[in-house]
């Protein structure tokens, strides 16, 4: 239906309230930038199809990183080049949504090259708006995979040379070799007739998605006057005279008629189902063990355990968390280690809490276990005032420097050695933690061993180590 008045499409926000500066009705784009025109064509299509309420636009990294300022739709801003992966997740979780991945040429063809290839090959039912301006606009005009031979950029100051930088990548041609895509077209926004063709291509691509036909992509040759060091009018001319020669316009694939719609389970989730999926339909968990008898500073502890790989620091953390869970607490445990197997260092973050844990990361532990000297050197300063440092004096050759914390020196490795295995030094420390703080009981820890220790024959030795650790601390 033709409109009598052409003005701001309704699927743009009236006021760009997410824009931090005072000017909330202009875009952040340079004068004459193609992104603005493409936004307009896209916004108009979304309005005309009446799909704003179920559309999610993915903003990339690049000049269009702030696309979410403008579109009054769902918006997600994603990591560089990863829009097709995020689009896949969004679409699969809610097949009735319209997912539009908006990407530049650096984003899509350089860092995200494999992402787009795989999404296209899977025939994901998403629409990609690919803005090819032959340059990295946002970062100041570096060469992109689509930069033309001879084109001067800040990283090809003498012009792109095939021998050095290879040839411009033609994405539409490349993707049309795959079976997955259903619609692939390349347009430009030069003269009015070409703009109208591009406008139609965008609509065809979105329609393909609305009809559950599969992957669609529209590549749009777009001027970047700032990156190209040209006036807006010169830039437009350059697209027409230079870019189009290398990137011919047209439809590269259109199987929208032949393809059967993808059989999706077209469903929307009810509030009850969402609550159920998030576990909000159940009663709050019941805690069998209050922390009232634990000293306030060690209640809901944030624990960091650190040592050499092979000292069992991850297992110690795991056992603590498991014991906390036995007692009905919320717990978290995340390991952190380098690529080395035994030679490197390892640490883990453990939380045991009477309320839900928002983030499992422990930056400022209330309890630090340092199994070796580098661990104490690295994490001592992070411990909260009044916190506890348990350090393995068999390997840690100095005492903590802090005077505002409590510390327990324990020769865990030597004690373990006497028990018959260096490997149970971690359990000696577990005993020390139990004795000193009481955050978990010995019974819960022993019961946790049944879950975390693979070879059951080692469990008695581990129990003995826990008891030795307790005894050592009791006698301090």
């Amino acid at each position: 239906m033709a409109k009598d008045i052409l003005s701001t499409p309704k699927s743009f926000y009236k006021e760009f309230f997410r824009k931090p500066d005072a000017d909330k009705t202009n875009t952040h784009y340079c004068p004459g930038c193609g992104h603005g025109v493409i936004h307009k064509l896209l916004a108009e299509a979304i309005e005309d199809f009446g799909i704003a309420d179920r559309t999610i636009i993915i903003s990339p990294v690049g000049c269009s990183v702030f696309a979410y300022y403008y579109f009054d739709t769902g918006n997600v801003q994603v990591a560089h080049g990863r829009a097709p992966a995020v689009a896949t997740g969004l679409k699969r979780a809610n097949p009735n949504s319209i997912v539009i991945s908006y990407q530049g040429d650096g984003d899509l063809a350089a860092i995200g090259g494999n992402n787009i290839l795989q999404a296209a090959n899977r025939g994901e039912n998403i629409t990609v708006i690919f803005v090819n301006n032959a340059i990295y606009g946002m970062t100041g005009g570096q060469m992109a995979p689509t930069t033309l031979i001879g084109q001067k950029t800040t990283t090809t100051p003498y012009g792109r040379a095939a021998a050095n930088e290879g040839y411009p990548i033609r994405i539409c041609e490349l993707l049309s070799a795959l079976s997955g895509p259903v619609y692939l077209a390349r347009g430009a926004i030069t003269d009015p007739a070409t703009i109208m063709k591009t406008r139609l291509a965008i609509r065809k691509a979105i329609k393909a998605q609305m009809d559950y036909k599969g992957f669609s992509l529209v590549e749009i040759l777009s001027p970047c006057p700032s990156g190209w060091r040209m006036t807006p009018v010169e830039a437009k001319k350059w697209v027409k005279e230079q870019m189009v020669k290398i990137f011919p316009l047209g439809t590269f694939k259109d199987e929208t008629k032949e393809r059967e719609p993808i059989a999706y389970e077209k469903r929307e989730y009810t509030k009850e189902e969402i609550k159920q999926a998030l576990g909000l339909d159940k009663e709050a968990p019941h805690f069998s063990h209050s922390m009232d008898d634990v000293k306030p500073i060690w209640r809901n502890p944030k624990i960091k355990i650190s040592g050499f790989g092979g000292q069992g620091v991850l297992l110690l953390g795991n056992t603590l968390a498991e014991a906390g869970m036995e007692q009905g607490y919320h717990v978290s445990w995340i390991p952190s280690y380098g690529p080395e197997m035994r030679g490197g260092t390892a640490n883990c973050h453990v939380q045991i809490s009477t309320s839900e844990i928002a983030s499992p990361v422990v930056d400022h532990p209330s309890i630090l276990v340092a199994m070796n000297l580098p661990s104490l050197d690295r994490f001592e300063d992070d411990v909260v005032p009044g916190g506890l440092i348990i350090y393995n004096t068999s390997l840690v050759t100095r005492a903590p420097k802090r005077t505002d914390i409590e510390s327990i020196p324990i020769p865990a490795t030597d004690i373990a050695d006497k028990l018959g295995s260096l490997k149970v030094a971690n359990m000696v420390v577990l005993g020390a933690i139990i004795e000193k703080t009481g955050i978990v009981t010995e019974e819960a820890a022993i019961s946790a061993l049944n879950t975390v220790v693979k070879h059951k024959k080692f469990i008695p030795l581990n129990i003995e180590a826990i008891k030795s650790g307790r005894e050592y601390v009791r006698n301090l």
């Binding site: 033709a2 409109k3 009598d4 008045i5 052409l6 003005s7 701001t8 499409p9 743009f12 000017d23 009705t25 202009n26 875009t27 784009y29 340079c30 004068p31 004459g32 930038c33 193609g34 992104h35 603005g36 025109v37 936004h39 307009k40 064509l41 916004a43 403008y70 926004i189 003269d191 009015p192 703009i195 109208m196 406008r199 006057p225 006036t231 807006p232 009018v233 437009k236």
Partner: protein
Amino acid sequence: MPTKGYMEVDPNHCKGCGLCIEACPEDCIEFSSEINRLGYHPARYKGEGCIGCGFCFYTCPEPNAITVYKKGKEVA
């Protein structure tokens, strides 16, 4: 003389790129000599000649700068 169409530029939303002036088949848009709040000479309608084709609207990158009344508009 009444014209077929009518176009309007909001001077404070124009960045003076000149693409609408280029696109207009009737040559009825020009740069204003004024400087707007963004520091540009905005485009403006010459006052007559618009045929309501909408070319300027579709070449303009700013969402809030141009309005085209395809069937003309009563102006005081």
